[in-house]
Symmetry: none
Subunit: 130 residues, 4 copies
Amino acid sequence: MLLDIDLQSETPIYTQLVHGIVEGIARKQLQPGEGLPSVRSLAADLGINLHTVNKAYQLLKQEGYVQINRKQGVVITMDAYPAADDAYRSRLREQLRPLIADAICRGVTKEQFAEMSQAVFEEMLPKEEK
Amino acid sequence: MLLDIDLQSETPIYTQLVHGIVEGIARKQLQPGEGLPSVRSLAADLGINLHTVNKAYQLLKQEGYVQINRKQGVVITMDAYPAADDAYRSRLREQLRPLIADAICRGVTKEQFAEMSQAVFEEMLPKEEK
Amino acid sequence: MLLDIDLQSETPIYTQLVHGIVEGIARKQLQPGEGLPSVRSLAADLGINLHTVNKAYQLLKQEGYVQINRKQGVVITMDAYPAADDAYRSRLREQLRPLIADAICRGVTKEQFAEMSQAVFEEMLPKEEK
Amino acid sequence: MLLDIDLQSETPIYTQLVHGIVEGIARKQLQPGEGLPSVRSLAADLGINLHTVNKAYQLLKQEGYVQINRKQGVVITMDAYPAADDAYRSRLREQLRPLIADAICRGVTKEQFAEMSQAVFEEMLPKEEK
DNA sequence: GTGGTCTAGACCACG
DNA sequence: GTGGTCTAGACCACA
């Protein structure tokens, strides 16, 4: 698994972990049913504390991305994936607002913004194009 | 000025202030050259700490949104607006990545995502339709 | 015997086993004197660890639900059933307290709570209606 | 605030804290809008670690019982209380099942069980009867 | 002052 | 072996 953590970043390490793993799932590099490394081993790999990894795993569990059981450790959820319900859509809108307000002030047009989003989107789905 | 602050929110109050003011500028409710309320009066209006307002103003200045003069107080920058340079574009991309990764996992298509962005964009530019 | 084990559940597997077997006795699906499957076969059936099944059986024995003989294996107690003594009543009350406190906070009335309990009770005693 | 914690108990300390606080809310000893002690002071009072208190507070927040903001610390939610929705009802039913199965095996009748529940209920609402 | 984050190290329950 | 719990102590962001 490729996770690069920036210890100097403003964003908390556990948030970086969550983002990285979600992105791994989006890229299909992490398949449903697949197990994630144990808190201890991932912590050792990244040179961080196991509690930090644990917190990331707990958040992922809470959002429905993984399940944690005593046998296999942490496993990517197979079914009942997080849904794009109204709560999600309104949250996303709130997250987009400041980004878009900033973009407008900088003279970025609707089209340019859409273009950039598309680029990120497609970079995230390389296998879909094969 | 309409600024609604949510004390329960995860986002720091000063960040909410920055977002609110930038959005005001994007919506053209705040015009270049226009003055913002003094630190003291805005803090009193919102019932928050002086330091918090001050921190927001300093950040806005640092990003080039406002200028702070001893005489006129805080004034929205007339020229030399923040530019959409490469640094900005790569920062925006980094901010979009986790949002888009999450969206992909929830089965949101590129088109749906674009649609939602557009909606936010247009809601932010009501005067463009005149 | 119908025992469905949820590996994702918070409750330990051995606890789920105990609950399932006690419920089987309550429903009279398991009769006094009846033998339970051997540790080995039940573990194999459910795809779980031998130790887990063993721990559940030991707990059931400790609470007086079963007797364990070398010859007949694990057998449901015929007489000397666990009694509803004071120790039990106070333990039950302690278990009910957090449930009821939560219910009160959610606006559940005494009557609604009683109704729900009754429903579970009756669902557990289908043969009583014959 | 009266919270008695049993360090020897099987139930985790943070769970005992959650139960105690929810019960305090149910008993109206803790009023909506009221602030809870800071993690540090409560931890000091109880002679436990601040992280343990923090975990309890986080859980209460997650369940909607309290809100955490930077100004006043932890405050009991005033509106939008946890609701008695279907998810709650089915969860409660699952929690009641093992208790009731056990009760049935011990010869406790439906009426006796209801009586005990009522007793706990009424003990929790002393002021309602005044 | 508050809570948020991170570290380090320990013990236990579970399987 | 796994995660769950608890402790102790540190630094920082926020207000």
